[in-house]
Amino acid sequence: MSEVLVVVDHVDGAIRKPTFELLTLARRLGEASAVFFGSSDKGAEVAQKLGQHGAEKVYVVDDTEIKGYLVAPKAEALAQLVEKTSPAGVLFVSGYEGKEVAARLAIKTGSGLITDAVDIEDGGVVTQAAFAGNYTVKGKVTQGVPLITVKPNSAPVEEVGAAGTVEEFAATISDSAKKAQIVAQQPRKASGRPELTEAAIVVSGGRGTGGNFEPIEGLADALGAAVGASRAAVDSGWMPHTFQVGQTGKVVSPQLYVANGISGAIQHRAGMQTSKTIVAVNKDEEAPIFELVDFGVVGDLHSVLPAATEEINKRKG
């Protein structure tokens, strides 16, 4: 069986959940191998976790010459690894970095690229959501090595106990790949809540919060959810941009999305329409968001949310 490479998304060796989802998908296409760009010291520890989730092999690419630069060196290293392993596919997490490394790799290796997959079936048929989720599109890569970026929450995390054998891979990085330098980097502060794109539940607030996100955060905490925001809330300076859900923010597809004081503009829908269950609280019964919901409450979020939060906390006992 051919190898399928999964590019590991991690922060200092802490593997992010979507990587494990990719391993599940990779095993439908062949034998899963992970590619870890990081410090060699962390290789063994990381490989053990990746093995648990189905990686037979873990290529450890020391990132001393890679981490200070934007995407180009990673694409170069991957092109060399693709050359060596002739994989049946390379999977990336859909995010700025995953997409752009894949884009450069596509040109380098003469391979087709499909972005924002929500599913991959045996045989390499890829499902995407198009036009803000109004269409479902199926397709395939027909040339080169299929390169696919996959949205978080597109597959279950499975524990399978594969070998996770470490193999060091020495890549050669050219000077021309080192022209876009990362001059400064400030890691995002942990909010103590689940990450927006990974969360099973997202509770969002919009202009209707009037700038008071306490009811949103209260409900989020009662449900163990991540907090999101509309662009109106971000533009008003109530929430940082990293919380924005939508076309120019994060695209989420959780099990449950609760939109509060959000009208449901097309650009917001583009970021949440593929959520499994959608709930809205809005005081305007004509708000377009109600066209999408499984359950909606016409009411003031400032009274409905705190009361619901109290009831939920009581039920949980």
């Binding site: 995407v71 596509a106 972005t115 599109v137 919901v293 409450v297 009274s303």
Partner: protein
């Protein structure tokens, strides 16, 4: 500074967008316009021109004949000249082929006067791949500074702020380079009446594939490196249950719903 800004012509995202029977995006039946995310790229290009005397901004678009509307809008906003690369053979091209055509057009546009900056939007509103800028950088062998939320330049030195998934980063590079900008860079200007009148006199060229030295066999639907096999309209969501909140009934109903779906 010689700036080329890549602007895409897309179906209006507030209209009923659809696919053709060959599974390509319907770019003719649905009203199209300049992708609104590319307006931010035009705006940043114009601001750089204003800061650097003697600069020119060229709007470049690959698309059907109607796509000239996107170029014209960029001219109305203030770009100096426009180029539309249009050729029947291009129809149905995927990212890879589109980036090839754009790269060759950028090379031709810079044949006499080297292009310092290729400016792009963060994503097209139809494909929303966010990959064409990186592909362009790869093809042109240029550094990329992409997804900029803040742009700073001093001569040919460029710094941008980028909100990646896990960190906020400052990226630095020297021109020539490829840049893409997000809507966080700030409001795009509206064309003024004067701008609209002036645009009518600005140079606007249409190039075919042979003008840029690309063979028809390298682009288009039949040679795309990806194939769309099926497009289905998502079934409309079945009408959900909507309740009116009266004296706290909304909170109880909401809680019941969440319990019934096992979220609690």
């Amino acid at each position: 500074m010689n700036i080329v800004v890549c602007v895409k012509y897309v179906p209006d995202s507030t209209a009923d967008r659809q696919f053709e029977s060959d599974n390509t995006v319907d770019r003719v039946g649905v009203d199209g316009l300049l992708s609104e995310l590319d307006e931010y790229a035009v705006e940043q290009a114009l601001q750089l021109k204003e800061k650097n005397e003697g600069s020119t901004v060229t709007a470049l678009c690959v698309g059907p004949e109607k796509a000239v509307d996107a170029v014209r809008k960029a001219l109305q906003m203030g770009a100096d000249q426009g180029i539309l690369v249009s050729d029947e053979a291009i129809a149905g091209s995927d990212y890879v082929a589109t980036s090839l055509v754009l790269a060759k057009a950028v090379e031709k546009a810079g044949a006499e006067n080297k292009v310092d900056l290729v400016m792009c939007g963060m994503a097209s509103t139809d494909a929303s791949g966010s990959v064409v800028p990186a592909m362009l950088a790869e093809r042109l062998d240029l550094p990329q500074v992409t997804f900029a939320s803040v742009v700073e330049t001093q001569g040919d030195q460029v710094r941008i702020k980028r909100d990646s998934d896990t960190a906020t980063e400052v990226i630095g590079a020297t021109m020539p380079l490829v840049m893409s900008v997000t809507d966080q860079t700030g409001e795009a200007r509206y064309p003024s009446f004067k701008g609209i009148m002036a645009a009518k006199k600005k140079p606007l060229e249409t190039w075919s594939l042979s003008d840029i030295g690309v063979d028809a066999s390298e682009v288009g639907l039949s040679v795309a490196w990806t194939e769309v096999t099926e497009t289905t309209a998502r079934p409309p969501r079945t009408a959900g249950e909507i309740v009116k909140d009266e004296d706290g009934s909304g909170a109880t109903a909401l809680t019941e719903f969440l319990v019934s779906k096992k979220f609690i």
